[in-house]
């Protein structure tokens, strides 16, 4: 294990995750107005109708796969009697389908973004950089899956990447595991870390406004005008008589 490994698999991950967490907090505090999906459906919907659900549902399955693959230790799945081969057949099967769905969806969306005039002119530099990093991450990840199908002679990510990933959250990082994971997983991890670092500053923030509250709230929302006087929160010392104590 050399210094580079420590930088790449200890320092960079912590920096990236710190930016991810603090960045989201800051963006939400500072820029609620900019927190949106920035939908371009108004401009074009023929391609979007195929590309967007393919991409989004695909990436949701990919996310579930990652939670399982990275979050659940190998010993647990073996304890419930799931054999190594069965696990990998399932993971690679579902992963490849979801991954290719995501990739095809992304391909349609990128094609649409480039060729539809209004959509292209609504694309910011920020968007372009984000698409680059996102596409890179997905391509690296998918190529790992494909290599896993074709060769399967390489490393088992559940012995290397997953424990390393979990070790970050135990605050007991084990860079040597990742250093042994092979370049495919290393590239995927690095580009993912870059993606996490830029995440709060891109349109990807809309992931965190998935409107799950819609299921439980009443249909019509009523709001009173006079919960608050003026256009900012009441400063300390200026509470109204009989108002709530803070």
């Amino acid at each position: 294990m050399n210094a580079l490994d420590i930088v790449l698999w200890v320092i960079v991950p912590y920096i990236s995750l710190a930016i991810f967490v603090v960045g989201h907090y800051w963006r939400y505090k500072y820029d609620k107005f900019g927190w949106t999906t920035r939908s371009s459906q108004l401009y074009e919907s023929r391609l979007l109708r195929w590309g967007s659900p393919l991409f989004h549902f695909g990436i949701l399955f990919v996310l579930i796969g990652h939670v399982m693959g990275l979050g659940i230790p190998k010993s647990w799945t073996e304890a419930v009697g799931l054999s190594e081969t069965a696990y990998h057949a399932m993971a690679i099967g579902v992963g490849a389908i979801a991954g290719f769905g995501t990739l095809v969806g992304l391909g349609i969306l990128l094609y649409r973004r480039r060729t539809t005039g209004p959509v292209f002119s609504a694309t910011t530099k920020n968007d372009k950089f984000m698409y680059l990093v996102l596409t890179m991450t997905i391509l690296f990840g998918l190529s790992n899956t494909v290599l896993g199908v074709v060769g399967h002679g390489g490393v088992d990510y559940r012995d290397t990447v997953s424990p390393w990933f979990r070790s970050i959250f135990y605050f007991n990082p084990q860079p040597e595991l990742m250093a042994a994971a092979g370049p495919g997983f290393q590239l995927h991890a690095l580009s993912a870390l870059l993606l996490f670092a830029i995440w709060p500053f891109t349109r990807l923030v809309h992931v965190f406004s998935a409107p799950l509250g819609y299921f439980t709230r009443p249909y019509i929302v009523y709001r009173s005008r006079d919960r608050q006087l003026g256009n900012r929160a009441t400063p300390r010392g200026w509470d109204r008589v009989g108002g709530p104590r803070r």
Binding site: K32, S39, Q41, R225
Partner: protein, 574 residues
Amino acid sequence: MRVMAQMGMVMNLDKCIGCHTCSVTCKQAWTNRSGVEYVWFNNVETRPGQGYPRTYEDQEKWRGGWQLGRNGRLSLRTGSRLKRLLTIFSSPVQPSINDYYEPWTYDYETLTNAPVQEHTPVARPRSLLTNKPMNIKWSANWDDNLGGAPELTQADPVLQKISAEIKEKFEQTYMFYLPRICEHCINPSCAASCPSGAIYKREEDGIVLVDQDRCRGWRQCVTGCPYKKVYFNHRTGKAEKCTFCFPRVEVGIPTVCSETCVGRLRYIGIILYDADRVLEAASTPNDQDLYMAQRSIILDPHDPEVVRAAERAGISRDWIDSAQRSPIYSLITKFEVALPLHPEYRTMPMVWYIPPLSPVVDALTETGHDGEDAGNIFGAIESLRIPIEYLAELFAAGDTSLVTGVLKKLGAMRAYMRDLNLGRPADESIATAVGMTGQDIQDMHRLLAIAKYDERYVIPAIHAEQGPEREEFDTGCSLDYEDGPGMGGWGPFGETSGGSTPIAVENFHMLSARQTTDTLSAPPTKAQRVNLLNWDGKGAPEGLFPSRGNDDARHGPDGGGDGPGSPSVTEPKP
């Protein structure tokens, strides 16, 4: 009984001349921004016509509003909540920009910088979306005044419903204007379809607004609104809609569209309604009963019991007072001449219309009959040039008797008032024939024909003890004005980020700057400057050039000081 107040509007379509002043002033006030170029919170449609966006009334296609399920329960036409969330990645029936129109500008610069040539240079249209030259194929008002009829008008969904054809003969065509704003519905389906809960109804006055900080651009509201009066700002990615000009209404003045209406056809007031019975009324099984159902939840503000309940609900005395004097309450409930637009959408719209009568009088006069004679009018209403069926599809879910009743009242008013104007004795039988009294008719005539500003707009201001709020609604930090310490211009992630500039703060600073300057357009040091017209060209007198920073101390704090230069080279203060 849970009493709530609701701001509403009535438009008298007989008076609309289709001048579009309301649309233009509204656009200037609210949507003259990038991202909402195609948006008209107020638009005036020629009916029959496709409307804006095209054929928006075809709910089989656009799936707006509510419907009754087989179990008799009210649900959104787009389906269940789960279904909406599952299709959120690509909204199945959202109108595209072409259903509105692609906004454009003209290459005006060509007109001034084109080289000398044989032909006059032409300013070509350029798309505001792509900045590329484009062919203009449609706009918000393409079929204005039956432009493109009969081909375009045949696509009018209302026309198709009554299976009437616009006559190809010029003499037999008919049309009228329909100005439309957001209906500020009592049962708004846009709010119900918003996944983020960003669209809300204000408890105090029922105005439906979009919280720009909560909207996440899921665009379900665009589909949910059957009137297609929620728009998607394609630059900020947020929904925007008519605000009923709440900053104006809050201080007791009418909306911009009403204020500038040339025909003075708009009436604004509040009604009190029973919020507990909204769902029940909106679930009325028969479409044609919805009008009466909506009328039934509107409470009589003169009823002492209602007044007491309103006071218990925290509605202040002057609001109750305004509800009693409300012109829209009179037109809806007392005279029963105003009808809601498309009650069958079950959203309980609160912008109501008095259907147009006018052509009947002219038509009768042309045939040699006395056009204002009561008997003649009553007989002719059913053979109006504008088919009653058409008006009924718009305002009464197809119930022609309702529209006929209203038109008879309007006709009776003309006949009755003509006798009075000519100094003849009033014919009370005209009034009783339409179920009114002579006094009712005179009151209605006053409200429809001669009511002044303060009778047409009875708008209670919000309360003084709510002080600072009079200026504006929750719009963020007061330091967020332009170049202020809060922020200036766009946020760091391009034009769609950052907070919004509060209207009142910006105006406050502009106002104070104007009030404290000596002239309308003067910098503070203007009095010290050399007037170049008086300058003899010799040397460089003091004030010829702006002073550097350290000179200021010499001139004293008020900027005048010891008097720079002689009076002959100094422009006198105005």
